[in-house]
């Protein structure tokens, strides 16, 4: 286990957690607002369908509510790593016992993009191919990618959540990006641009 990296901790989160633990429903709703989509997306990153991702998200928040209500969480500036460690464990458990949903994009997903200038040559087929490529990464690299880009955690929180040194996490992230770039530039036969095949795979 590494030393805690608390320089990325959000003091607002600590106050919210304390208030929610004390029964402040408004603080609880703010916590939900801050994390529900990120936990849902973390489950989606592992190929979970919408219903299963919902179930996992509910399970994580049920655990959070139970622990906060029972006073079993002691605020030390590590709330996010703790919360996403719970979430990642739930996602792994579900991935072991459930068949992943077909790879697909949510309806109208591309229309919601507010920052189109970041990657102008990126369409739905590319996104499906990227999902397939992520599924071919090693589990540790995949966890780093999911915690970084789906859960939007800072690197120090990822390191804390995975119990790895910050340098290791940065190196893994860099390596995973390079692998994905290579896979996307020369896709495997299973990653051919055939939506039906992709939907039946992984």
């Amino acid at each position: 286990m590494t030393e805690p990296h608390r320089h990325g901790a959000d003091p607002d989160v600590a106050a919210l957690v304390r208030a929610a633990s004390g029964g402040d429903e408004s603080a609880w709703r703010t916590l939900v607002d801050r994390y529900w989509r990120r936990i849902f997306a973390l489950a989606r990153s592992r190929g979970m369908g919408t219903e299963l991702a919902e179930e996992i998200t509910q399970s994580v928040f049920a655990t959070l509510a139970a622990k906060l209500g029972a006073g079993q969480y002691e605020e030390q500036g590590l709330f996010e790593p703790w919360l996403f460690r719970i979430a990642m464990n739930r996602v792994r458990d579900a991935a072991r016992t459930r068949r992943p949903a077909p790879l697909q994009m949510p309806d109208g997903a591309l229309e919601r993009r507010p920052d189109a200038a970041d990657c102008p040559n990126f369409d739905a087929e590319d996104l499906l191919a990227l999902r397939e490529a992520i599924g071919r990464l090693d589990e540790t690299d995949r966890d780093v990618i999911a915690l970084r880009h789906h859960a939007q955690l800072p690197f120090n929180a990822i390191a804390e959540s995975l119990g790895q040194p910050l340098g290791t996490v940065l190196a893994r992230h860099h390596r995973a990006l390079a692998k994905l770039r290579d896979m996307m530039s020369s896709p495997s036969p299973s990653a051919a641009p055939n939506t039906a095949d992709k939907a039946a795979g992984s």
């Binding site: 991702a53 029972a70 949510p106 860099h174």
Partner: protein
């Protein structure tokens, strides 16, 4: 909090330029998956406050699953899993199998009917036809089908046997006397 307010803005300064497009694509994929979260989920989570959970520690779904796994509320399954029930089921299956075997070895009604057939049950019309055929030339037969010929052959043989049994011996003195 808006989804666009990324709190993971600690992008490494040394991120290689050739990896930046992939970093952007992953950020885009994450954004899409976060955007796919259904609003009903948010509503449900808002209601599951720590205070509410403290008063209702086990959601109904969790309690139901626990009860099912223990088998405590399913007495029928408990009975099925008992050794006595399984032994009775095996004996019943064996008895049923033996009864089915005995029944299958019984002669069928069709066989009984065929075995009792003899010349005394010949159709009178057929018998007349056989007589006619016996008097006619073989060249008159082609109008009959193969099945007809088989049946006639069978019945003709039976008829001959019947006649042999009751043929009067005119050389017998008793027959001569009776005539």
């Amino acid at each position: 909090m808006s989804d666009s307010n990324r709190n993971y803005a600690d992008r490494p300064d040394d991120l290689a330029p050739d990896l930046k497009p992939m970093d952007d694509q992953l950020a885009r994929l994450g954004e899409i998956d976060r955007g796919a979260a259904p609003p009903r989920l948010r509503d449900a989570l808002d209601r599951a406050t720590p205070h509410g959970v403290a008063h209702h520690p086990a959601p109904p779904r969790v309690r139901r699953r626990t009860r099912d796994m223990s088998g405590g509320s399913i007495p029928l399954l408990r009975r099925v899993s008992s050794p006595a029930f399984r032994a009775a089921a095996v004996i019943g299956l064996l008895a049923s199998g033996a009864a089915l075997l005995v029944w299958s070895l019984q002669p069928s009604p069709t066989k009984v009917v065929e075995g009792s057939r003899d010349a005394t049950h010949l159709d009178p019309d057929l018998e007349a036809e056989i007589e006619l055929l016996a008097l006619s030339d073989d060249t008159n037969w082609p109008a009959l089908s193969g099945a007809d010929l088989d049946r006639l052959e069978y019945d003709a043989a039976a008829l001959r046997a019947s006649r042999d049994a009751f043929w009067l011996d005119f050389d017998d003195p008793l027959v001569e006397d009776s005539l």
